[in-house]
Amino acid sequence: MKLKTLAAALMLTAGIPLAAQATDLEVTHWWTSGGEAAAVAEFAKAFNDGGDKWVDGAIAGSGGVARPIIISRIIGGDPMGATQLNHGRQAEELVEAGLMLDLTEIAEAEGWRDLVNPVRLLDGCTVDGKIYCVPVNIHSPQWLWLSHEAYEKAGVAVPANWDEFVASAPKLREAGIVPLAMGQQSWQTQLAFDTMMVAVGGIDLYKSILSDKDAKAAASAEATAVFEAYAAARSLSEGSNVQDWNQATNMVITAKAGGQIMGDWAQGEFQVANQVAGEDYTCLPGLGVNEVIATGGDAFYFPKNDDPEITAAQKRMASQMISKEVQVAFNLKKGSLPIRGDVDLTAANDCMKKGLKILADGNILPDGVNVQSADTQGQIQDLMVEFWNSTDITAADAQKRYVAIIEDAD
């Protein structure tokens, strides 16, 4: 009781000059690579310029390391001010347990529903009609990145699609270049598979397997073709003994590898290495076959807090993250697309422009992270990394196991 009165009194006295109030807000995220850190610095700069203080809680090692920390802090009753999480399925339970701050009020006041494009991103933040997170960018996994230098060395033209890429592989090998760079982490092999599904299997197949969890589609002949293409691609990555995605990207940057299938976040790495899209490297959305992109992305959640000052600061941060200037600054550094259609991106490079055009045309797909549970994704990843690394597993075996996972998917 006493505490509440005290808090109320504080709120009254602090109420008027709230805008000038300086509050420390701890922010947890796993953006620690070069391009990522530069991007997150834009958020911090904007927040600090507003008179508050961004306390950085970066934890390297992506979701697997950061997630127990984030969830422990939230269920332990001493949460951080804001935290990165992939929106959609991952945070559902935390929202349902009433642990997240409801942002509906500012979202309505600022008209997020009209700003955010595609609006589906905001749906990922919505539970029971209320908005709980701020989508900050659009990431699409379906890209093929190609090194111009590598193809020059091998004496072949830079491929324009997946089939040409496969056909040019022997030439690259002759020149001592690994055709396809692939990191060992399991999510990378899954990403490659989903991307090949769009390119080889087609958009309808992708949608019915991922969104509708249709096991029949997963068992179909179209899907078999994807598994076969994937099996055939295994030999292309022989000799790429790297773990992390950005080490694999670095192989492309240094022309040790011809190409890599990776999301548009790879662009941040090319940028840090001072490479120019269209001159030093080429990017092919949907592997150059079906020019579509999935609209996954990152979002920030704001765990509920008893302290009204923190709540006010959380709301300030939320509306900053979605504001025009911050969106532009952040996404240019991150190599991702902004979540609002009304920003000026003349500074964008070739690859980003390709992405923006696809987005404007509405050629978009749901992202696996948003429609599949982490559990289902984890199982697919286990299967794909095993399939990719052991040639004993035939395409038919892998497909059978994949169908079983889709049958049980939630």
């Binding site: 997150v40 610095a41 950085d56 920390i69 080490q247």
Partner: protein, 306 residues
């Protein structure tokens, strides 16, 4: 069973190595023995050599050469970078950020965990009460439980105690997880103390705490050294508990190490990684090399009587 009084009261050198006395310095047996030892020592030293050599090279040299070749041009830049410049997220002040936090976490955690475990061991060895063995068995069982499983239950326990994200909470966690092995060591040590000493103290009217402070503590320096070494190493190297049960302003050095090693800024900077690794390991390494002799002596006392 070994002669326990000898183990406790005499120094290592007095108990002395056994086996046949060496006859000539260059006997075939000695050549074999030292040859084998030197070869094995090389296997143990190889990674240290690689770490040191790599940490002194520049990145271009690392890309060209192999891991074993000595640096052509020695540079201390990776060390400077690891200590004070490497970025984790927005903070570009390297390992130095976490060093004092690690010290602040380590000192009370080591002190309290050892104090409690030594009293436990003493009670189990000399004042056995009904059911003690059951609790002790549970404790040993606890040594096998994977830490990850305990994360959420402990968050809930600490929350109920009001200690979550407080330094005190982390100290409790380290005390709890250090308890099984430490209690085992202390129990074995104290039960090797001669019964007569204990009885004489009882006759003089000393009670539980009296005997602990006046008889047991003064004669158990070696086992305390062992416990300190084990705990310093364990707590200093801990990442999981340090990051889950505290806040960023209290994050230990291992969090920065993880961030430096696991986040790649373009190319993996092996030299900085190795320098960071060595810097992080310096504190336990220092403790080991300084107290190596006491370590063996203490272990001797603690382990002999199982």
């Amino acid at each position: 069973m070994a002669d326990t009084s000898a183990t406790n009261s005499e120094t290592t050198t007095m108990v002395g190595p056994r086996g046949r006395k060496p006859k000539r310095a260059l006997s075939p047996r000695n050549i074999m023995l030292y040859g084998t030892l030197i070869v094995i020592a090389m296997y143990y030293l190889l990674p240290l050599y690689v770490m040191v050599v790599t940490s002194l090279k520049g990145m271009p040299e690392i890309r060209l050469g192999n891991v074993f070749s000595p640096p052509v041009e020695i540079t201390f830049e990776p060390w400077v970078k690891a200590w004070s410049e490497a970025c984790t997220g927005l903070n570009c002040d390297g390992l130095s950020r976490g060093f004092w936090n690690s010290v602040r976490i380590m000192v009370p955690s080591v002190a309290i965990s050892i104090l409690i475990a030594s009293v436990n061991g003493y009670a189990l060895a000399n004042w056995r009460f009904k059911g003690a063995n059951i609790f002790f068995t549970i404790l040993i069982f606890g040594a096998f439980i994977p830490y990850q499983v305990m994360i959420y239950p402990i968050v809930i326990i600490l929350r109920e105690m009001g200690l979550y994200t407080k330094l005190g909470g982390l100290v409790i966690v380290h005390t709890v997880f250090g308890m099984p092995i430490l209690t085992l060591l202390f129990r074995n040590y104290f039960s090797s103390v001669p019964e007569e000493l204990f009885k004489a103290a009882r006759v003089d009217g000393a009670g539980f705490w009296g005997i602990y402070f006046r008889i047991m503590l003064p004669m158990s320096l070696p086992i305390f050294v062992v416990a300190i070494i084990l705990q310093v190493t364990g707590i200093w190297n801990d990442f999981l508990f340090g990051v889950i049960y505290t806040k960023p302003e209290n994050y230990p050095m291992t969090v920065q190490l993880n961030n430096i090693v696991n986040s790649v800024q373009g190319v993996k900077e092996y030299n900085v990684n190795m320098a960071a690794t060595l810097l992080t390991g310096l504190v336990p390494l220092f403790v080991y090399f300084v107290s190596g002799k006491l370590f063996v002596r203490g272990i001797a006392a603690g382990a002999v009587k199982g």
